[in-house]
Symmetry: D2
Subunit: 282 residues, 4 copies
């Protein structure tokens, strides 16, 4: 079923839900899902509403044009997403394939409403995985000499494939600020710890060293500050003294797969709204 | 802050959210929380909306009178709850005190917005607990001869204390149909298993016998069919071969406390809507 | 590192740990892991001990011959597993590929210490998946006419591939008693519910109908009684009224993958001891 | 049943389990539980063994004297605990009663094998709670002027009550180094975050600010470095954008109660072995 989804945040004020639902009703839309939230501390209103486009009087740009004056009056930050326009996602990987295989098999099973036109990697290890699923694999090695040019190369590649979402599926390179700024809140990373604990390299080894009883994984949008972006999803798994750092790495892979795919699905279904450095996940 | 909460379910149809929010807006209310859900299979619309009463033009009965024609036109099953009217809750117990102490200490800490005018028990074991918290304790022993009269005695007791919610905090007697029918969807039980597994007596022993790796607890509204009422909340805890049935009983107590108190809090804050034999917990 | 693992259960009696560790010590072994458990109710002793074979005086059959008299005297049921002898696992599938892909990618990553010589299916849907990983795929359709012969065909196939463990990775056919008896406690199934709740077909639909707040998955050894075999592992995931039966199916896939792979890993590392209809998972 | 429990750690070497179990067997003991672990990285052996004292030839000090030469030869750090000698636990609280009530009701239900001779607080808020359970309440206010003397006062109080374990059940004062050194690995704290995330004050507010999707609680032994001691147990609970910092405080209370009581029970049953800054929890 073709649907439209409106994501809004604005200063809280009376009549917001009524105004938005009135707009949809007026043009003949039937609401499928509506969720709103008010952050009392910040006095900010958040809303996600999805409606069926069958029988709706407006289409793509006409929806935007008709809604713009309402949004302006209410000082809304807003976006309309049409289910017909599937997102195009680039997967960035290095050597470890667990997240990649998980995403590819979910995609093949129809769980992820997106296209996967390209896989990018700084190593060639996962080229066979890409080939098995018939997805172009681009090898962009990162060395001292190539580092300068890699950002431009990646941006050009994203443009060539009309990418709008980038998933770092255990991509073990720091993303450069220029690339991040070109895709604000569109680059999703999986960090293998329960952030904000164990920022940076080798988090499972840090966790083992500290003697924690739970390990975690965190999926977040990438910002220019390392591992500090808005968190989309997290989960944890119990460990004990019996688990070496190597065991934690193995157990953590399951967390990483699940947390990353949940975060990506929330993103693809327009359920994530970023506000400041936090997310509202409807 | 004084608020009103409207719980609605009705056949799905266009304009429902707009109509309800229009009603609130028209009388000067500011929406604090709104949540809706449509069960596509059954084509039923569910909604919970809570708004501030400060500045709202109507009060208690006037709200009901003003909303009734709208509800009738839309074939709504509905209820309005005012935060000022605290629920009056009777706690039924037998011998085990973990749920009772948990509820009493939460109540004392201000976590449960209700009054606790009476504790009822078929044994005297927990009388000291009631006395410590200054709550009247009524001992209604259930024997072969008293059984017939106990239903009438309990109903009279509930009326005398103006009770509207009954919590079976590990009350180990079967509730009679007459009592259940007098309090539809107002009697909350905690069953010490992950329903529908292990219905009936000694569920932890059943669980141990079956060799499960997780034990559970389930809080549900009581219906005339044993352990079959609408589920409000559930949770589980990991066990292993090291845990005897006795260990499971001990571990299960923590589940029971938490699941029962979560279910009660959801009930007291008007977040539970029963539909058929299921709940929508907003 | 080459190791041997001894799994024992017998009537509890003084000196068991001392006797077994004395045997290992006497022949020059260094214990890596030792775990024991006594079921007080049944007065049964369980033990798993793993030791390094480097410097150990005995090898394969010699270990068995040397230990047999000790075992006989103590009335032990026992087994020795050598890490050098990798298990050979057949995967049975039908149409859904999530468990298959998960196991194949774990195997490729070196997480599962076993060989995967053959994939068997009653449909051809997952043939491409098998081919991508270079594993022979045998299509044995089950129809009214072939049903009689399929058991013999499967047993012959298992023998031809020297299979010792069979994983039903969402194989949607009932396994026949003759096949089950040929592989006692060697056939691992994943059932898509929290057993013993929702035995049989369409458990997620049953779960949705009942209105549960958690869904589960259970991995167990297959016995001739449907979904009643010894449970190896279970897990659950939270759901709400927002989740349709279809959503539960999707969420359940993640549970199934993880629970099945954990159970298989426990089996492959000789950590599962079946006793009666329960397991001790060390 | 009267039992003895031996906790050991020492350099790993062949024959350790055999030696210890030989000692118990020789004197007529029957092992109830045995668990061992080897940290391969550090080459350290850990063991907990509990045996029935009925029929055992030695008692309290005689056990220690007989075992000492064995321990010396093997360079063991070790301890023997007798179940007959119940630990004496002091509870330190401030204003919040949820952990206190939880521990008191568990103790009354017989879940905690210890004596509770005294409750200490820097405020008088929880005096009524102590009185309800008939436990002496000592008010030791901490002010700029009393601070210097409070350590001596507390140590004297612990000695007067023959305390061997101190539980900080949401005691909101920094413990002084002199007190900590007097009770090494005997002071158990509950910190209301998933350490090492959110060390220090107001962790739920820090968690809310960071936008995490899970909150946690951590129970650990107190060392002189704030919130850095060996972790005994941890757990987490899911939160969302709907949860304000105040909601997190409320949800966190359930975590704190459960994690603290689990840690205390592990300590009281001699299942915690501290090594470096980590714990082995058998």
């Amino acid at each position: 079923m073709a649907t439209a989804t409106l994501l809004i945040h604005c200063p809280d004020q009376p009549g917001l839900v009524n105004t938005v639902t009135g707009f949809i009703l007026y043009h003949g839309g039937n609401i499928l899902h509506l969720d709103q939230h008010v952050d009392r501390g910040a006095n900010v209103f958040f809303m996600r509403v999805e409606w069926a486009l069958e029988g709706f009087a407006l289409n793509g740009d006409a929806i935007r044009n008709a809604f713009a004056p309402i949004a302006k009056e209410r000082q809304m930050a807003w976006n309309v997403h049409l289910s017909e326009k599937r997102r195009r996602v680039a997967l960035f990987v290095t050597k470890e394939g667990h997240c990649l295989y998980d995403l590819l098999s979910r995609h093949e099973a129809g769980e992820l409403p997106c296209d996967l036109p390209v896989i990018v990697s700084n190593h060639e290890h996962l080229k066979p995985a890409a080939e098995r699923f018939g997805i172009p694999f681009v090898h962009t090695p990162v060395t001292a000499t190539t580092k300068a040019g890699i950002e431009a190369e990646h941006i050009a590649l994203m443009k060539a494939h009309e990418i709008d979402t980038i998933v770092l599926a255990r991509y073990m390179q720091i993303i450069t600020p220029g690339f991040i700024e070109a895709y604000p809140n569109q680059i999703i990373n999986i960090h293998h710890s329960f952030l904000p604990a164990f920022v940076g390299a080798k988090p499972y080894h840090q966790a083992h060293e500290r003697g924690v009883k739970l390990i975690g994984a965190t999926s977040h949008y990438v910002t220019t500050e390392l591992d500090q972006g808005p968190i989309i999803d997290q989960d944890v798994s119990r460990v004990s003294h019996r688990d070496s750092a190597t065991d934690m790495v193995r157990l953590g892979k399951d967390l990483e797969k699940i947390v990353l795919s949940r975060a990506l699905l929330a993103h693809l279904t327009n359920r994530v709204l970023v506000y400041g450095n936090r997310t509202v996940v409807f």
